[in-house]
Structure formats: C-alpha cells, structure tokens
Amino acid sequence: MKGICVITEFRNGAFRQVSFEVVSEGRRLADALGEPLVAIALGDGVTAEAPTLGHYGVEKIYVVDEPGLKDYLPEIYVPVIAEILKAVQPKMVLGPASVDGKDLSARLAACLDTGLAQDCIELKLENGVFKAKRPIYGGKAYAWCAWAEDVYPQMASCRPNAMKCSAPDTSKNALIETPAVSLPKTVKSRVINVEPAGDKVDLVEAQIVVSGGRGMKSAENFALLEELAQLLGAAVGASRPVVDEGWRPHADQVGQTGKVVNPKLYIAIGISGSTQHQAGMGSSEIIVAINKDPEAPIFTIATYGVVADLFEFIPLFIEELKRLKVA
C-alpha cells in the first residue's frame, strides 16, 4: 500500500477545474507522506490533455481513452477504476466531490469494501494518520473523520473550491501509462442524452454568487440579478421560498436542502437569512447582504451590510461596477 491516487473528472474535452484542486491537495499530502502521487484519467479524447495533470504535480497518469467513457456511467467507470487500483494499491484515493464524483466515489468505496469521507473541506496527516473534515447538517457543523486501522484505500472526495489549487508548472512532466483495461462488454444502464445548459457558471463551483430571496417579489425581477451576475461572472442562486414560488429553477436553490456553496463572494439580495439558508452559504469568504429590513438575520453574518431598497440599490451598484470597469 503506497502513495496517493487521484481520480480526475474529464468532460467535453477538458479536465474540470476541481480535478486540478484535488491533484494539488493530493500533491500536498503525498509530500507530507513522502510517497508518490498518481492519477487516473478516463474519458474520450483524454490522452491529449492528460499531460496537464503532470504540471500540477502528478508523477504517473493511468490513461484510459475510449469513446465508451465519454459520459460518466457508474456501471462502466467503477469496474475500470477498480481494475487499475488493483495494480496501483494506493494508501489513499482522492476524487472530486462534484455530482458525478460523489456518485462514483460511493460506488467505488462499496466495491472496494472501504471507508469514504464525502465532500471534504480539509484533509491532514497527523502522526502518520489521515484525518478528513467534512460538513454535516448542511454545514451547521463539521465532522473530523478517520479511517480504521489497516483500512485501504482510504477514500475521500473533495468539495469544489475548498482545496487550494497550486499554480501549474509546465516544467513538470508525468509518466503516462495506458493500462490494458477493457470496458465491461454488457451493461444494463446507459446515458440516453446529454443536454448542455449553456454557459451558465455552475453554482457550487462559482467564485462569486449573486442570490435572490423573497424580496425580489417576482420571477421577472431576477433579470436585474442576472445582469449583475453577468457583469461579475457570477452564478445566480435563490433562497427556498423563491424556488417554491416557481420564480427560479430548483437547481439554483442554496440552503440545507439545496446546494451548499462556498464562493469567495456571496451577495444575498432580498434574503432574510433563515438558518437553513445560512447553512448553505455561511462558509462563503465574503458575504454581502442587501435588504430593506435592518433586523433581517442575514445581517448577523454579513461582512458588509446594506440596508436599502434593492430595486433602488442594485441598478446604482451595477452602474458603479461598470464605472469601475468590472467585467
């Protein structure tokens, strides 16, 4: 049992950013351990991009490049990865806690009869033992977890935006290996269709989130937030009442029973700030609250608070941002 193995996520011809974050974290832990860092790269057309993983500190990359790997399907991905891991025998397997990443990690952990810490925000090596910190109760608390003795591989998925991504070093190169793994011949499940959602910034992975609450008063008024988001390169989120009203899609819901986000900047507009909503955004680096009610609970956690009518404030704020040439 030696080293750390990172499972990367490759989609639409590129590794997703979270892959580099996980590799960076893997590199840090491998250095602490004094053992190698390797990665697994599955996909269709992944060979051309695989070397970039080396720039983030991976020493050896196991590449499986097949049309059958174009879209994530657990029935195909899990056996292929399990087969590669039989040869690699790492101490720890790290993966992204993206939608598919969490799915894959769970099935793989059961396949390998091991323990998995999902959605980790911190990992550390303490006296030779790995420990993982992960949010529970939607982020209202954190749990430190450890694996039982002699349990290998120790598996952890890493929350997007939580691990520091190192700067790529193009002078570093990894060895590329193409293991002779074949995809399962017969499968009972399949991906029927993939419909891209356009260029929208993903809510969970966004650096900036502009979020609207009941104070927005209607679906149409969200056009104002979309304009602001466009300017900032931000994703647009929503509180639960807004989604329940049907003003915004459920995928935009931020909160304990929605998405938990941890961007650099979260702008809460017309949101009162229930505990469930706070659970979903409370770990954002900077929180800005705009609400005409000075007693709104959101102000108790906001870095910067603005008590104002959002319909007056936001257009002025947009103008100011344009003046500062933000875009």
Partner: protein, 263 residues
C-alpha cells in the same frame, strides 16, 4: 411491480445543532424528527408512478430505532403499502457501508423491481448509502433523479450535472437516488383517511439476526471510517453596515469589494 423506498428519519432542518458532551455527536433533546426530505421525494415519486401502474406495491424499508416507526407510518399514510424496520442496537455506530450491508440483507428478502431513496440524508450528508446498496446487490443505479419514468421494463431519469441535464436509463432491477427540491416533488401530505389506514398496514420489525447478520459484520466494530470529533463553524461576526444615502452605499460597497480583491 415492486418498489422499495429506503427511508431515514432525521432531525428537522430547523434544528439548532449543539455538540454533545462526548464531542462527537449532537444533543438530541427537543428534536423534531422527520422523514429525510430526499427520501420523502422518493416516496412521492413512487406514489406518482403507482397512479399509472395499478399493481405497484410500495414497501418502506428503514434502518433505525423505535421512533423511526413514526416516520414509516407517515409514509404509509401518504400511500405506501407496507413497512419494514430493522431495529437492532447492535447496528449502532455503523458507517455508511455497514448501513448499506444491513439494508442489502433486508432487501434480499423482499422482492423488488426498483429501489428508490434520497441521494443523501440531511443529517450526515454522507451521500453514500443508497449507491452502496446498489453495488452490494449487484444492480445498476442512476443518481440524483429530478424526474423518473418507467416504460417497457426500463426506468428512465433526468439528472442534473454541472452545466448539463442528462437523461439516463436502466433495465430492472435498478436503484434510483433522488435529488431536486421540494418545489419539484411537492410530497403530498397524508390525508386523514391515509393516516387511519396507515395504522392497519403491516410494519415488520427485524433484528440483525433475522437477516443473518452478525454485529461484527456491520456495527461500530466493523466501521471502516468513523467520526472522531465534531466542530462548530467559526461564528461569523456581524460586519460593517454601510452608511450614507443609497448612491453613496453603492459606491462604498463597490470600493470595499474592489479593495478586498473580491471583484
């Protein structure tokens, strides 16, 4: 068609979380226990399919304690047909894999075409048990469904990944985990008649021994991963409330964010 819905009882999401004296669990006084919202969506999804598939039988399967019966009865009141509760103190302290092993053992005794469950429970947010059950049973799974259909012996779901909506399908038997939100599924409230009927529906209680399992296989001694301590998040301080008239506030906020390197 037999659908089994895996159901977990969790603290209401409005619960204020306090760390207990042992440092690795939460204080459980004054908690209102509810059906895990994502499992509730799974129950609702099954009930909606039952409208079109007359001979569908819906069984609720839970791993829990005596108080879990209440949540199972609620699901029965919504319209599910029967329940099975695995209640054994020896199963306490199990990790996700341990729980999955218990559920898989219980499922081996139930005839099923489909297993539905939430993709995660809103207490531990582990996001594992359902998928692990599928792996242990050797059946396909499709995760994070926001829509589900059954047609010609196939189950189809829509799921959302970053930047795309995916349609996936599987032969039966299969396990489906549910995502989405309350706005999508709008789980029905049990009717008075439903509540009356729920009391008469079968709710079997099982122990690990009934399922042919030993505590060492699934309890805390078997756990591959455990919680060693809980921590509360750093309390956020209330920050700066910006003063001035509205245009001045807009200018100041932009300036502060620019200075903080946020924009």
């Amino acid at each position: 068609m037999n659908v089994v819905v895996l159901l977990k009882q969790v603290p209401d999401t409005g619960t204020a979380i306090k760390i207990a004296d042992d440092g690795k669990s939460i204080v459980e006084n004054n908690i209102t226990w509810i059906i895990n919202p994502y499992d509730e969506y799974a129950v609702e999804a099954a009930l909606r399919l039952k409208k079109d598939i007359r001979d569908m039988n819906i069984t609720i399967l839970s791993l829990g304690s005596e108080q879990t019966e209440r949540s199972i009865r609620t699901a029965l009141a919504m319209g599910a047909d029967s329940g099975v509760l695995v209640n054994d103190p020896a199963a306490e302290g199990s990790d996700a894999l341990g729980k999955a092993k218990v559920l898989a053992a219980a499922l081996k005794e139930i005839s099923f075409d489909l297993i539905f469950c939430g993709h995660r429970a809103v207490d531990d947010d582990d996001n594992q048990v359902g998928i692990m059950v599928a792996e242990l049973l050797g059946i396909p799974h499709l995760g994070m469904a926001v829509a589900v259909e059954i047609e010609s012996g196939q189950v189809m779901i829509d799921r959302q990944i970053e930047g795309a909506k995916v349609r996936s399908g599987s032969c039966l038997p299969a396990l489906i985990t549910f995502g989405g939100a309350h706005a999508i599924w709008k789980p029905r409230l049990p009717s008075l008649l439903g509540m009356k009927q729920a009391g008469k529906k079968t709710l079997d209680i099982k122990t690990l021994a009934d399922l042919g399992l030993l505590p060492e296989q699934v309890g805390s001694a078997a756990a591959k991963i455990m919680v060693i301590s809980l921590e509360m998040p750093e309390p956020r301080q209330a920050g700066l409330v910006i003063e001035g008239d509205t245009p001045a506030k807009a200018e100041e906020l932009a300036r502060l964010l620019r200075e903080a390197g946020a924009i």
